[in-house]
């Protein structure tokens, strides 16, 4: 994909085995579709191919499910990624079925547009490896995430792969921020974003996050069109809290050297941009 060796990626992403995870979950999925009622949402996705003799039972199971789910299940998933993609969508929509599991769409929306009012980030089209890595880092306690730490604790490694694949491939229009950005912040933020603050050894944001903040896969996320509450919160977390998952501490150093006004300015600038269309893999 990008010439990065698997060994190298493994070095960047320590495998984390969380005590509550259920690593074999995905291996059982196919069986569950056929044999149990625990994943009715997933059943919908393959439901049209169910044998006739199972239809009656199927209808009983589905009777409690909202009409919207029935309609959404109608589209055939793209060939080649059927199972992982479908499972990812299922988790996004309904959680992974473990007790207390939370659907990603509660905050990130089904199409990954995020929720600016509470600072839930836009994740649609973010690189697959990046999404998976960040979930693992939250599980490991290296990425500060007071909300996410509870939400992702029951995700297995396979669940993470599935949900990362799903959200890396969905499209979403930009969800507008609450209120308009301050123009003076935006123009100050643009200078920092495109020129840097080299007196403080801060490179231009776009030197690593790509022109216009469109991201550099696999590990530099796009930040264009991201909501400003999220961006500012992450800069604060890098600077003062326990967000420590950045490779080599690059973002921690930069976030600390920015003043509060500068952090706000770059957050408002990038939130004022349009997010990239889905990136190449």
């Amino acid at each position: 994909m990008d010439g990065m060796s698997d060994d190298f990626i493994k070095g960047l992403i320590p495998e984390v085995i969380f005590p509550y995870s259920t690593p074999s979950r995905f291996g059982r999925i196919i069986g569950e579709i056929k044999n149990s009622d625990t994943h009715p949402g997933h059943r919908r996705l393959t439901g049209f191919r169910c044998p006739v003799r199972r239809r009656t039972m199927l209808k009983k199971v589905l009777s409690g499910i909202a009409l919207s789910v029935l309609i959404a299940g109608g589209a055939a998933p793209p060939a080649g990624a059927v199972t992982l993609m479908a499972w990812g969508k299922h988790i996004a929509k309904e959680g992974n079925g473990t007790p207390g599991s939370t659907a990603c769409m509660e905050c990130h929306r089904l199409k990954g547009g995020g929720m600016p009012s509470i600072g839930a980030p836009r994740i649609a089209g973010q690189p697959r490896r990046y999404i998976a890595r960040e979930i693992r880092e939250v599980q490991a306690g290296k990425r500060y995430g007071p909300v996410m730490s509870g939400v992702v604790q029951n995700l297995s490694r396979r669940d993470i792969q599935a949900v990362a694949l799903y959200y890396s491939r969905v499209h979403s229009p930009k969800i507008r921020d609450v209120g308009e950005p301050d123009p003076s912040h935006v123009s100050k933020g643009r200078r920092i974003a495109t020129r840097g603050l080299w007196k403080k050894n801060i490179p231009a944001c776009v030197q690593c996050h790509g022109p216009d903040g469109y991201g550099v896969p696999p590990l530099f996320p796009y930040i264009a069109g991201q909501n400003r509450t999220y961006l500012l919160r992450q800069l604060m977390a890098y600077a003062f809290l326990k967000r420590q998952d950045d490779p080599q501490g690059l973002m921690r150093g930069i976030a600390r050297r920015l003043t509060p006004e500068e952090r706000k300015a770059v957050a408002e600038y990038f939130s004022s941009l349009h997010p990239p269309d889905r990136d190449a893999p």
Binding site: D2, G3, M4, S5, F8, G11, L12, R195, G196, W198, K200, N201, I202, P203, Q207, C208, G210, P211, Y214, G215, V216, P217, L219, F220, P247, Q248, G249, L250, G253, I254, R256, R257, P276, D279, A280
Partner: protein, 272 residues
């Protein structure tokens, strides 16, 4: 804040130490004394009118060389001037333009003659950009000279300014090792420059420059000399964390990078 100050303090201490190293190595050339590193004028002071236009054009060529001076850049080359001269040619110890401008004309052993700045710029295109030398009368050279001239406004002429050029590291304690260098590269460089030195792209455009291979500088370039590359890496890499590698690590990783395949030195190609 405290961390920021500590960092700044460390930077100043290192800069002072290095300036003494500079003095020891610079031979007959006078080095500017004093604690301040020259600050080039801000962009807001680029004047309106034809001179300002030429300066701005120079900056565009500098930061997007393939787009604005493509005919002089090698076909597969993915570098820009800014790949090596960081912060649009302003950053100390990454061969800033304000440090270079005031030192030309000067003798260079590379071609055994007194070079003018335009001839030096031609060398950049021929070797680092693996392309062809733009004529000294070309718009490309004129714009780049104007950009350098404007940036060095107010700097004393004919002296080696503090922060000019690259740091000259003391000889390594142990001979540079490709084995150790490869480890340093994987841990500290591959995140941006890729495990195969290919750099990284975003939406089709090059973001991190390739450090070897067909897209990178050729074997005639200054960075093909391990001491120069080590000095650059030491003070500038990884971006925003300059001076975090030890001298030995800088030597090792420079040796590793320069041991990888890259285009040949055009002076050594057999013409038929």
């Amino acid at each position: 804040m405290t961390v920021g100050r500590t960092f700044l303090g460390a930077f100043i201490v290192v800069a002072m130490v290095l300036s003494s190293v500079d003095r020891a190595w610079s031979g007959p050339v006078e080095v500017m004394q004093g604690s301040e590193i020259f600050t080039p004028p801000p962009d807001s002071e680029i004047p309106a009118g034809p001179f300002g236009d030429l300066v701005r054009k120079g900056e565009k060529i500098f930061t997007q060389t393939g787009r604005f001076a493509g005919k002089y850049v090698g076909a597969e080359n993915k570098m820009t001037c800014e790949s090596c001269h960081l912060d649009r040619g302003r950053k100390p110890y990454s061969a800033p333009l304000w440090g270079a401008y005031v030192m030309y004309p000067r003798y260079r052993s590379k071609n055994h003659m007194v070079n003018k700045l335009d001839e030096r710029i031609q060398g950049c295109f021929r070797f680092s950009m693996n392309g062809t030398a733009p004529p000294v009368t070309s718009d490309t050279v004129k714009a780049l000279i104007a950009y350098s001239f404007w940036m060095s406004r107010g700097a004393p002429v004919g002296v080696r300014l503090k922060g000019a050029g690259l740091v000259k590291l003391p000889p390594p304690a142990r001979p540079p090792s490709l084995f150790r260098g490869k480890k340093v590269y994987a841990a500290r460089c591959a995140l941006c420059h890729g495990a195969h030195g290919q750099g990284r792209t975003s939406h089709g455009g090059q973001v991190f420059p390739p450090v070897w291979g067909n897209g990178s500088y050729n074997k005639g370039a200054g960075f093909y000399k391990i001491d120069k590359l080590a000095g650059f890496i030491k003070m500038n890499m990884p971006l925003s964390k300059g001076d975090s590698l030890t001298d030995q690590e800088s030597w090792d990783v420079a040796a590793y990078v320069d041991s990888q395949p890259r285009p040949a030195d055009p002076r050594k190609l057999v013409r038929r």
